[in-house]
């Protein structure tokens, strides 16, 4: 996604939450890069300060860090693991947005999220990721509250839910998600974009 947006002529700051990810980090070589830890407020604030310094203003911030771990009832459910997933996935998202907001007031005010369909409260998804699924539901709620709070200031929110267990992060998917997240002509305050949405179709990919 960083590469796609850069190739479209945008300035992109790649903020890496952790290691080398899928091994394609080299693709961000020609971009501004910074590493940060979503669990630590000081690290998130340093990332935002660097972003402000490097970019001047930010039109769109996209949050796509996500930590997943299996945990299930009857198998020694560990509430410390569940708390860490909440801290990383849900509170880390809020820390990042809170820190980036001061750089976004003069831009296009778009905030995007890449998440997992497991955060949907309407679908049975299996029971092996109890703590993870709860952290995603919490994040989903936080996105709704952010939209309520900041929509009046002109901010718009797009949350794309991927089927991370079945989908490979391939080019076609990245292009579709980029389009869904960065369509600035669409001024609806909040859209949750998923497989049932016409903007991209994970179901079709599965076939």
């Amino acid at each position: 996604m960083c590469r796609i947006w850069r190739d479209e002529g945008n300035a992109v700051l790649a903020a890496m939450a952790g290691g080398a990810g899928n091994g394609k980090a080299a693709e961000t070589d020609s971009m501004e890069r910074i590493w940060f830890n979503p669990l630590e407020a000081a690290s998130v604030q340093a990332m935002a300060a660097k972003a402000g310094e490097a970019m001047g203003r930010i039109d769109m911030a996209v949050i796509c860090f996500d930590r997943r771990k299996e945990s299930a009832l009857r198998e020694g459910f560990d509430s410390r693991d569940a708390m860490e997933l909440y801290d990383y996935n849900a509170l880390g998202t809020l820390r990042a947005i809170e820190a980036l907001l001061p750089c976004m007031g003069e831009g296009s005010k778009r905030i995007g999220f890449l998440s997992d369909v497991r955060g949907s409260l309407t679908e049975p998804m299996g029971v092996r990721h109890l703590g993870y699924d709860m952290s995603l539901a919490a994040r989903r709620m936080s996105i709704q509250i952010m939209a309520n709070a900041l929509g009046g200031e002109g901010y718009t929110f797009r949350a794309a839910a991927l089927d991370l267990e079945r989908e490979e992060p391939e080019e076609e998917l990245a292009v579709a998600v980029c389009r869904a997240l960065s369509d600035m002509a669409d001024r609806e305050v909040l859209r949750f974009v998923g497989a049932s949405d016409g903007r991209y179709r994970t179901e079709a990919r599965r076939e």
Binding site: A72, R74, S79, A82, M83, L94, E98, A137, Q144, A149
Partner: protein, 238 residues
């Protein structure tokens, strides 16, 4: 005689539900958080051995396991669990502009979202042996993403949305084993959730407990579909 476990039974809705079940002939294991709060001991004088008071902080693994151990010494089975204990916060109006208190948000999540799972897991041996296998979860409209119009209350709303997700996954896992679930929004109640009783609210705990006890105990369509209902019977969306 049926046996129920009620968490946060010291006062408010938890106490009212405990009193209601006892008057209906149940034996109740009452999870007590506040050592000095006088209402449960008063109830014990009236109902004797049918009320078993166990210290229980649902935010603590150790405390919940100790409570389960104490309960096991008194009974071989639990038919119905009422997950009632929860907290609020005086910091709920903080927002992204003023700065959020992440420590407080973790405290709320640990109790409101993870507490229910701690209790469920620690009491599984007892509930597996119960005849009803019913898990009743006191949630809130604040956990409904679809209806959320708040511009703050991040920690509380997020904890309740996560609680609803936890209930959904437990339903997926335990329904095939014979468990049934009740998810309940008590309405705008005069609660002690912030530490002292709030006089703001439309409903007294006793009124809500009457509706809740009926919903929790009786069979219904909720046996085969996880749904959140409020004290008036209205369904709330996720």
């Amino acid at each position: 005689m049926h046996t129920a476990l009620v968490t946060g039974a010291d006062r408010g809705l938890g106490f009212a539900l405990t009193a209601r079940l006892l008057s209906d002939g149940w034996r109740v294991i009452a999870g007590r958080y506040l050592e000095d709060w006088p209402e449960l001991p008063t109830l014990a004088e009236r109902y004797g051995e049918r009320l078993v008071i166990v210290p229980m902080d649902i935010g603590s693994e150790e405390s919940v396991h100790m409570a389960a151990k104490l309960a096991s010494a008194q009974t071989d089975s639990v038919d119905l669990v009422i997950h009632n204990a929860a907290v609020s916060t005086p910091l709920k109006d903080l927002d992204l502009r003023s700065g959020l208190d992440y420590g407080d948000m973790k405290r709320i999540y640990n109790i409101n979202a993870l507490g229910m799972l701690r209790v469920t897991e620690a009491f599984l041996d007892l509930t597996d042996a119960g005849s009803m296998k019913r898990q009743c979860i006191v949630s809130s409209e604040a956990g409904s993403v679809e209806r959320c119009e708040r511009r703050a209350w991040y920690g509380y709303c997020m904890s309740k949305a996560a609680l609803n997700m936890g209930a959904m996954r437990l339903y997926e896992q335990l329904r095939p084993e014979g468990y049934t679930f009740r998810l309940f929004h008590p309405g705008w109640m005069k609660t002690y959730m912030s530490g002292v009783k709030s006089e703001e609210g439309e409903l007294e705990a006793d009124e809500v407990a009457e509706a809740a006890a009926r919903y929790f105990v009786e069979p219904g369509e909720a046996d085969d579909r996880l749904v959140m209902r409020d004290w008036s019977g209205k369904e709330w969306p996720w």
